[in-house]
Symmetry: C2
Subunit: 389 residues, 2 copies
């Protein structure tokens, strides 16, 4: 099997923007391609992660983005698994290169969430839950995650303050990330004083609504050596997709077992253990998600994931573990749903090429991305990226 490489990345502004989705994509693509010495014609295929057609009443994004990229007569396919859509697109690109199906694939993610009103946006997000069993009872994403948080605070010694610390850490990290939606620090009181959305989760426990697009160029080592022979190599050594069931009511609320399996498979692919990971982007749609996924990934011991909020460098939490969500995470870098999985890859790429500026983790050589769709691990994608450092 070929070990795929990432040779270029790009993103649009993240947040509420005036641009439609396809133009957000153009901005992201331009950044990626302008970093390369070659025109786009070496691309063989395109995958795009996109959560919802409803924001812009637009399907067929595969064809649209391929055309906007100047690419014709190639496979151009939209994949969807709610907020894991970007991770799915990256997984498909990586798999195609790993198997020799294609030599160079664009992995894209796009979401234009602010095109409609709040109620429509909430309804579009609730489409991730089973309609007969869950939507009809009125569940939304915060209310589902609040169930996990309630149980977590009951089972562990964590408090609402500890969850707040995760938000504070991620906003602090985002201050050093030029791609981030938010650029200001917040305090614990900012979180604690914000309105409850679904107790114990408050407004500042929740990732924002964001527009945004992101692109990663995934190629074979041969193509990488041809196009960017002197670039520090970033290899994708692990890739896994694992579905769990749809309904949170039938799952262990505080053991995210689908994510555990996805991480385990990704680590096996790469031949690593959690202690090898220097930097991790984990899916913090809510503060509770970061605590739970830090545990599911083995980065923290069970029941102690909440301690990740104690420091922006979680190594000082006392475990020999990765820095988590150095980008600012979904919470502060922003969460344009279908683009999020690719934005995670971008952060790992920058950390592994030593281009992460003020948020650089020294000597980062191994990165993990966990991207999830639905409620917690309805579907999880896990990727391990390794650099030369």
């Amino acid at each position: 099997m070929t070990v795929p490489r990432v040779i270029a990345v790009g993103s649009s502004p993240i947040g509420e923007t005036a641009l439609p989705g396809r133009d957000l994509f153009s901005v992201a693509l331009t950044e990626a391609f302008e970093s390369l010495p070659t025109p786009s014609s070496f691309i063989d295929a395109l995958y795009v992660g996109n959560q919802s057609e409803s924001y812009e009443n637009q399907i067929m994004l595969g064809t649209i983005l391929a055309e906007w990229a100047g690419l014709r007569e190639l496979p151009a396919i939209r994949v969807e698994g709610c907020a894991a859509a970007g991770g799915l697109a990256f997984n498909q690109a990586v798999t195609d290169v790993a198997t020799g199906t294609h030599d160079a694939v664009l992995a894209c993610g796009v979401e234009k969430m602010t095109a409609r009103g709040t109620t429509d946006t909430i309804n579009a997000l609730a489409a991730a839950f089973d309609r007969p069993l869950e939507q009809r009872s009125g569940v939304t994403a915060p209310s589902q995650y609040a169930l996990l948080a309630q149980r977590y605070l009951h089972e562990t010694s964590a408090t609402e303050v500890d969850l707040a610390r995760i938000a504070v850490k991620n906003h602090e990290n985002a201050c050093a990330n030029p791609r981030a939606q938010f650029s200001g620090e917040i305090s614990i009181d900012t979180v604690l004083d914000s309105d409850y959305i679904a107790p114990p989760l408050k407004l500042f426990d929740c990732a924002p609504v964001s527009d945004g697009a992101a692109v990663a160029v995934v190629v074979s080592p041969e193509v990488a050596n041809e196009i960017v022979p002197d670039a520090p190599p970033v290899a994708v050594t692990g890739s896994a997709v694992v579905s769990n069931n749809i309904g949170v009511a039938e799952r262990n609320l505080t053991r995210i077992t689908g994510a555990e399996t996805a991480c385990s498979r990704g680590y096996d692919d790469a031949g690593i253990t959690p202690s090898d990971i220097d930097v991790a982007e984990v899916h913090d749609a809510f503060t509770i998600s970061e605590a739970l996924l830090t545990e599911a990934s083995g980065i923290s011991p069970g029941g102690l994931g909440w301690e990740i909020g104690k420091s922006s460098d979680s190594r000082s939490a006392g475990w020999e573990v990765a820095a988590v969500n150095t980008s600012g995470g979904l919470k502060a870098r922003g969460h344009p749903i279908g683009a999020t999985g690719i934005l995670q890859i971008i952060e790992l790429y920058e950390q592994l090429t030593n281009t992460a500026g003020a948020r650089q983790v020294p000597d980062a050589s191994c990165g993990l991305a966990i991207n999830e769709g639905g409620i917690a691990d309805s579907i999880t994608t896990t990727h391990v990226l390794e650099g030369a450092a």
Copy 2:
């Protein structure tokens, strides 16, 4: 490369039904699995083609269908390319098996189109067209295809009567297909006397709105030999996906060049020429589509695709070519958008295993499926299946 096999197929009733999408899938899956001597646990991955979340406000169909199939902790991914979604799901399944990524993959398609009112359904279908350039001018699928038909009737000697004959043929074929939405013959006058939807296309030139689901089980030869050692093998020898641009205004209206390329790639994979094809399912969302794709595929000479309507066995049209849309096609078998690409595979499977009953093409050993999304070939999938006959 491994040559994938199809070992089982199944479909739900097609037409307006009381069942939600996930239950339509269960019906299709039950048929497929009850034809096998093994439980479903040998399945490694699942892809589902689904056009629109808007009919049931439901995304995350990968996870939902996997759970409904009793499958956990495997990749379960929705793919979308409007009406080519089913073909994309089949392509992904075939690619995964061909490359050894997985040994056994469920290729699924689901659409529940009748859940909402007519206006909402039309709007959901129009989402396949570019929003800024096309949707805002009020285009719908029939109005776009009418442009192609207008030009085709101008350039060739075909008339509205000739297009009507294609509808008559497909309804006649559907009478012999127990899976078909419509079971009665129609006359040329039925078509000609029906209301214009977008001239020259009349109601009976258009495929219907349909609920439906379909499943094909795609496995490696090793798995096939283990599970169904005595079954007649049906091999997938060609598979291609080709995107064209989004807007019909920038294309040749009567040469479906994306489909030409997709067919050419599929034929190259399989090492065949059009004259080897015994039976073809081509995407007749409108009668004009069948005429144009019969030409694009090389089944008919250029400008003569409309002659396909002269006989249910197009060989008697005077060319040495395949029987086209023996299932009844989208026109009469029905067109549950995301399921259509898999329903085409089901027809080929039945023809190649000599189980097509009264519509059996004698000695059929090579089948072609062309599935399209958007306007004509915005995206095309082509598959070549070969049997032992």
